[in-house]
Amino acid sequence: MQVKVAIGTIALMLTMVILGYSVLREPTRLEHFAAAELGRSIETGANLYNNNCANCHGVDGKSEECYDSASGELIGCQGLPLNYQPLLCGDATDRMIAMNWQGTKQAFIQSTIASGRPGTVMPTWSDQFGGPMRPDQIRNLANFVLNWESEELCSGPVITFDWAENVEDFLAAFPDGDGANGKALFVTYGCSGCHGVPDEGVAAAVGPDLSAIAETGATRVEGQTAEQYVYHSILLPNDFIAPECPNGPCAGPPSAMPANFSLRMATNPQDMSDILAYLFGN
């Protein structure tokens, strides 16, 4: 019996020692697990993003490279960039200030994904509002988007451009549009994905045909010249929906045309000048 008492006591003491040891390592362990939870949430978010969001916001969140989810073809990006300084940098980001958002950044992104953006092509995602995703998925997605915030992204200057109201004023600042370069840009910006290539007879697929836009453009909105109309439509596609698309009347508003060119061309406004030169044949 004495042996049993000894063995039992030793086992009990060892158990206590082990418990004590596990208490000591607890703070680091908790930290690791907190980081692991976020890490795994970001991983899941990355998968969700690829399957649901990349076709509008681009594979790297810059709204530059979008592939049709069914056919896999390169298409124009319809969403705003997310891997984007004014959205992500700082505690109160430019975008939150512009939308007059009082809450946290995480909540801003999460609730935007959850409810969608009425009046745009951004759908409602949360199943609590009739969308397809559960709350945990929305959270994973938000964590993934927030993870684009990096020193590299946030240290550079914010690139915005104050677009002139009138095309004349704009062209006065950026004259000498290069039509040949404009044609190349027409493809790289993804315009040709929907509008075809007007001067080569590649037919428009989704958006209105632009081969005669120099004449028809003037008939769209009263008081706008063709050039003013095209300039305005590139920057604010939702203001006027063209009557005729290849598959019947054009849908909208919201227009199927991405609303992010004013942002994307901000780095290099001369691109606008070149594209106008291409479309107006000069």
Binding site: I7, T15, E26, F33, E37, E43, N147
Partner: protein, 551 residues
Amino acid sequence: MATFFDQVKEMGFKQAFVAKSDEAVERLTAGMNISDIRSALRGDEPRRPNPRLRPHADGFWLHIRPSFYHNEITRVYPTFHLGWLSTFMFVWETITGIFLMIFYTPSPLIAYSNMWNILSNVPLGQLMRNMHRLGAEVMVLVVALHMLRTFVTGSYKKPRQFTWVTGMLLLVLTLMLSFSGYLLPWDQLSYWALTVFLSGAESAPAPPVINQNILLILQGGPSLGAGGLLRWYLLHVLLMPLLLGIFFFVHYYKVVLHGFSLPPGREEIGEDSAKRVPKNERTYFIPDILTSEVMWTALLSLFLVAGALWFWDAPLEHHADPVVTPLHVVAPWYLSWSQGWLKLAPKTLVIGFIPALLVAFIVMPYFEIGKSRRYADRRVGLSIAMLFIAFMMVSNWMGTPRFRVQSSPDMEVATKLLPQEGVSPILGIPPDYLWEGEYLPGQVVDGNPHLTYGLEVFAQQMVRHSCTNYPGTTIGGSVLDDCEENDHRMPDPYATMTITQVQNGLMGIDINISALDPENPDNYLYSLNWPSFRHVDSNYEEECTFINKRC
């Protein structure tokens, strides 16, 4: 009786304090004062009248324990202390379970993040969770072994038939307790295990009206959701423990009523002398049996704590997703046999057979009425039992993912390397060694043993599923021997693994596998792009160090 103050006046504070303490201890132990306890621990003979019997007569806890055992049953054989250890496991599960309950809400909206909160924010939370989950599995094992031993020693025979019946109920309740807890983390593992279990209810051999209503009750609605989680939670924390507690006392009462059966060879055939233990063959509960129970309890605690800390880790997969069916739904090992049976026989038959088998087990002592408990006289019964155990083990093995229908070979390779759930040799690569680039299976990356190992496993898998010595592999021979020589193999495949940086701290790992159709070289027979992500903080490499999760 003198008050404490009178005593202080009479003999001074110190003496009075000792006297009062002695009195308190005697009350708490229902009869033993401090010097009695010390003498028991020293192993002295008890004074007369024996104070060590009074806790059995007057105390609540010990009145359900016999005050002495026959010498023959105090060693490890024949009980192996398994009955007591089953009791201890139930207490253990209750304590760790209450701890977990504090941090858990049974709602699909929050249950899964509660689990992560327990792991990442509750001090000792992971240890508690591991101990509870490991404890659940150990409890099933201990109870099953206890059943096996009572069968082998013939202790279910007259007059202990009803003890066996209540024991069987306890076994079923133990299994149900374990399984109902399985659902609560609300991850893919638990969700789909329960979904498969419930689909069994649907195909029971009963009229559809009954089946559908049972299903509706068990899943708490037309599909498994908030209602179902709440029900299974209540089963787990309320109904099952309550029933187990009730039958536990019935079981204990019967055990004491009939006395512990002696080792089969010790008695005349047909005799039951457990209650007539001659004075010189008695071992008293206090102190001998108690000491030995405490010792076994301490050893098992040590095993559980050390196991939960270093060797065994409770799994937590991704959040439950009703629309993403995992490639393989895994039942816990103690129910895996039922999945094995489903591969052998039609579902309705299996679902009908299980309750029938249970009833057969329960009533067994009333039909198996051979008088002798001796092993030599029970060859048939013991052989049947051994065959049954072998059959259960084979069934269990057949129920594991290793014995299953293969999916397409390219998927087999990809999910082996980058599984939807759990860890793998590629996920186990420490993040510092995930170097960007495009790699071939079997490629040796200088200065990067982890990646090299991952690519070696990649090559092995490619060989296994193509039966060709994959270009660039140093392996061959043995792996080539057990490659899958069947229709499911890729002719002359090409495969790569690409690692790219997607975001700060987030790596993308893509596996690409393609194989042309030899009969129609313009067509791909197999073409798979399997993208996956790995965050530097996800810490899969640590999971790889546990025996139940190896990479």
